[in-house]
């Protein structure tokens, strides 16, 4: 079947099987920033924005994106570039496998809530797991980014 979806501002037509998940479609279509880390929607490295809201692309059927907008990190390069400066300053990126998904979640958080509390940041990002950093450096980096320090 064919699906019409706007990816990173561009209209796309994807040729898919009805059971295909968005994560696999995106990787097949060369949006390689979207990573796969688990089998049951529990790690967050596949995060993309669906009409501006972070979702796990591994658990959304591509068919359901018909007429919607999807954003990957390729679509927020400027923001990711800037956020990565804050991550770099804190050593908050190690293997980097979690960071494209994180960048999308942080971007969406910023759009929704320009002045979140520490608890709100943690709550919003809790589904974005990171096994490398121990989280605190990421938290400081995200806080500084949101406060534009």
């Amino acid at each position: 079947m064919k699906v019409n979806v706007k990816v990173n501002g561009q209209n796309k037509v994807f040729n898919i099987e009805p059971g295909d998940y968005l994560l696999d479609t995106l990787r097949k279509e060369n949006y390689l920033s979207v990573k796969k880390g688990c089998d049951n929607s529990s790690c967050g490295v596949c995060t993309v924005l669906f009409d501006g809201k972070p979702i796990k692309s591994c658990s959304l059927l591509t068919a359901k994106t018909e007429g919607h907008e999807v954003t990957t990190v390729e679509g927020i390069q400027k923001e990711a570039d800037k956020l990565s400066d804050y991550f770099g300053a804190e050593g908050a990126d190690q293997c980097g496998y979690c960071t494209p998904g994180m960048a999308l979640s942080v971007h969406a958080l910023k759009e929704e809530n320009s002045n979140p509390s520490d608890e709100e940041i943690k709550e919003y990002l809790t589904g974005n797991l990171c096994r490398c950093t121990g989280y605190q450096s990421q938290h400081i980096a995200i806080r500084n980014y949101l406060e534009d320090k």
Binding site: D39, V73, F87, G88, C95, R131
Partner: protein, 770 residues
């Protein structure tokens, strides 16, 4: 120092966050065959008959592999120095399967769905055998997990498969039995540590293709690319000269990727079909069919005098290596070798035990590598002993622990599967770490407990730890520095960046030595055709061993530049002054930029490219003191880690931000092991928690406050004074948290993890006693 000891951003972090294709699966040929493995549903069984004809007949299936397609060539999947101290007890595919999830057969097909469908069409008649699932019953059990005749050990490691023994070891300094008799107080305690999953975010991934020279090119998410090349060649009998292994960016390792995973099967598919192929583990496969931390039972006896002098340590360990013996001996030995020297003033110390096979997922290398297990037992037992003695546990440690310029006889006796190397502690700021950590946590105000409102109690506990910096006389690393026109450099290293930031750290060392800036060092690592050798990212070796190789090569390059500068200026080498930018002799001068252009294009043309290598003659330990403050709910047993303070002596932290990242990442994995994580099995040996919903790694909600500092310390033998920092962070949380829980509520947990259920049971038992 201008570049070293600064918090510089990593060289790759930005590109990775921006989503540039960089990991193994991103770089697979889009036409790759999809390789899938049929995994054993039985903990122990023999294939009586296997029929793959239906699978082969399925449209889109390219090849099906079973044990019949492979010569019986025993090897180990452990990526270690060669010859390995791990038994050669694994076949690529075997007629026997030894745990649920073991490799039974393999399919390569045009797409995932076809591969999955083909797996279901493979028909197997099994002879189901009774497994061993309790490691305490494995030794001398009548069931034999490895009865096959072909397997062997490379040199004596205590391997005795007729007793289900993968390895065994014992050593004694002095006479522990006699010393214990002389002691005023003797403490005996038993501890259990659990299997922990590595849970790196990137699943094990490998892709292969034949290149235009008909050579096999593997991209693989590995910590040890050169070992991978060797093992692929050995086990498939394929010439090493026709294999290229490239390690792209790797999404975390923690020891889990210090093993063969899909490389042998994917290589076989590509060699046999000539087609590109790839394998990406599912998360379930990562949990069930890769590796995990060795579960251990540790029996400790400590003897001390009333005045608080520790006299004797007796440590017996039974370790569970699971179905295969990767890292069996060495992890076991590190549980002693990198814990016991902390208390170097004892009269006698004994360390011995066995590593047994069971029908569980194989255990293997995992950050801490035995030291975390040993640390939990010894550092818990020290607190227990102090209570018996009525002495303060910190004063006791300060009195008995390793200090600068001291040594331990254990260093010479215990190495990595072989004899060790004697060494003095030329850098050791453990005393500072202990006192600074108390200040940071406000220990004196909080010890042992503070009662809050609503049934909540806070307690503090601590532990000290050490690790190593590479494996002396075994680990070798090398580096090549190449000068380009315009005066910038390539740094080629075999060292393996798996996310810990070694490309950045090594580039910083090169930049500092060459007196240039980080942007002038273009680092490329881990490509068996293009970069020089390195044993790999393990054993806390990269900053120290690979760093020393980089330092040597960079200093050689600087001398070569000065020599060429002298030639260009027509002066003697001794007359040159060089600051990394301009070469001066009296009133003559030439910039590096001009000199490098001259060398490329105008006069005395040549390529300056210099390789040097390093292997350690000792393994200077980093040290740390870890302090935990926990809050326990006395009604539910629930536990919260309020704060974790780490004060670390890793010599010079080459990159302050990345070194801190190593410590904090390790601490949080250690907190995971202490309170949240445990690989669980059913009675039949099936994994219960093979996904992130059921296996809880810490999320950002559980992490409240990490305070991390470095001691001022300088290790003469390290590059710019550095020691390692990759593993030390993980060692202290289990013991420090167990001690804190005890101080909070009087419940001593000796079996990890420290769960609310165990704490509550302890609280209730204490109440019942009163």
């Amino acid at each position: 120092m201008k570049v070293v000891k600064h918090a510089l951003p990593s060289v790759d972090g930005k590109g990775l966050m921006m989503g540039r294709p960089a990991y193994t699966d991103d770089l697979a040929d889009p036409n790759s065959l999809i390789v899938k493995v049929l995994r054993s549903p039985h903990a122990y069984a023999k294939i009586v008959k296997i029929d793959t004809s239906k699978a082969e007949a399925l449209e889109g299936v390219e090849i099906v592999l079973t044990y019949k397609d492979f010569d019986r060539r025993p090897h180990t999947r452990a990526g270690q120095g060669f010859p390995e101290p791990s038994p050669y007890d694994k076949f690529v595919l075997d007629q026997w399967v030894r745990y649920i999830g073991d490799e039974t057969a393999c399919v390569a097909a045009v797409d995932e769905e076809t591969a999955q469908a083909a797996l279901k069409l493979i028909e197997i008649e099994w002879d189901i055998l009774e497994p061993i699932l309790d490691f305490e019953t494995a030794l001398d059990n009548e069931i034999l997990i490895h009865p096959e005749p072909e397997i062997f050990e490379n040199f004596p490691i205590g391997f005795d498969p007729k007793r289900n023994l993968a390895a065994a070891y014992s050593m004694e300094v002095g006479n522990v039995e006699d010393s214990l008799k002389e002691c005023d107080v003797v403490l005996e305690a038993q501890f259990f540590t659990q299997a922990q999953a590595h849970a790196a975010m990137e699943p094990h991934t490998v892709n292969a293709r034949m290149d235009y020279q008909n050579r096999l090119v593997l991209y693989t998410s590995t910590q040890a690319p050169f070992h991978i090349r060797r093992i692929v060649s050995q086990s498939l009998d394929f010439p090493m000269s026709r294999i290229r292994v490239i390690k792209p960016r790797v999404g975390g390792g923690f020891g889990g990727k210090q093993h063969i995973h899909g490389e042998l099967l994917v290589s076989t598919v590509t060699i046999k079909t000539g087609k590109p192929a790839k394998m990406v583990y599912t998360r379930k496969e990562v949990f069930e069919s890769s590796f995990q931390r060795h579960p251990m039972r540790l029996d400790i006896k400590l003897g001390a005098m009333k005045d608080g002098t520790l006299k004797a340590i007796n440590c017996h360990i039974l370790s569970d290596t699971g179905a295969y013996g990767e890292h069996a001996l060495t992890v076991f030995m590190v549980a002693g070798a990198k814990v016991l020297p902390l208390y170097n003033k004892v009269d006698s110390v004994k360390f011995y035990g066995d590593v047994v096979y069971t029908n569980h997922t194989s255990a293997g290398a995992y950050r801490g590598y035995g030291a975390i297990q040993g640390n939990f037992a010894i550092e818990s037992a020290i607190d227990m002993l102090c209570e018996k003695l009525g002495v303060d546990p910190i004063e006791f440690r300060e009195k008995n622990m390793m200090l600068k310029d001291e040594t331990s006889p254990i260093f010479a006796i215990m190495g990595e599967g072989t004899e060790g190397t004697a060494m003095n502690m030329e850098s050791c700021e453990l005393g500072y770490c202990v006192s600074r950590g108390q200040e940071l946590l406000k220990w004196k105000e909080k010890y042992p407990r503070v009662e809050l409102a609503d049934s909540k109690v806070r307690g503090v506990g601590m532990a000290i730890a050490m690790q190593g910096s590479g494996i002396p006389y075994i680990d070798m690393a090398s580096a090549t520095v190449k000068l380009n026109d315009d005066g910038f450099y390539n740094l080629l290293v075999g060292a393996t960046d798996i996310g810990q930031g070694s490309d950045t750290v090594l580039a910083q060392i090169a930049a500092e030595a060459l007196e240039t800036t980080l942007d002038k060092i273009i680092v490329y690592s881990s490509d068996s055709d293009l970069t020089p050798f390195d044993t790999g990212a393990y054993a806390s070796s990269t900053t120290y061993v690979s760093g020393n190789a980089v330092f040597k090569a960079a200093m050689d390059m600087k001398r070569a530049i000065v020599k060429e500068g002298a030639l260009a200026l027509g002066v003697k080498v001794e007359d040159i002054e060089y600051d990394g930018v301009v070469l001066k002799a009296g009133d003559k001068e030439i910039t590096l930029k001009a000199l490098s252009n001259r060398l490329y294009y105008s006069e005395d043309q040549k390529q300056l490219m210099i390789t040097n290598s390093y292997f350690g003659t000792k393994s200077p330990p980093p040290f740390m003191a870890g302090f935990a403050e926990v809050e326990v709910d006395t009604e539910t047993g629930e536990i919260k880690i309020v704060e974790y303070v780490s004060v670390v002596d890793c010599g010079t932290p080459i990159n302050l931000a990345l070194a801190k990242g190593q410590v904090e990442g390790g601490i949080v994995q250690g907190i995971g092991m202490a309170v949240y994580e445990e690989v669980l099995y059913t009675k039949t040996g099936k994994s219960i928690n093979n996904n992130f919903l059921n296996y809880h790694i810490p999320t950002r909600k559980e992490i409240n406050k990490l305070t991390t500092e470095f001691a001022e310390s300088y290790e003469e033998s390290g590059p710019f004074g550095a020691k390692s920092v990759g593993e030390i962070g993980i060692d202290t949380p289990p013991a420090a948290i167990a001690n804190a829980v005890y101080n909070a509520v009087g419940v001593r947990i000796q079996t990890l993890p420290i769960t609310p259920e165990k704490i509550l049971a302890g609280i209730l038992a204490n109440k019942a006693k009163k």
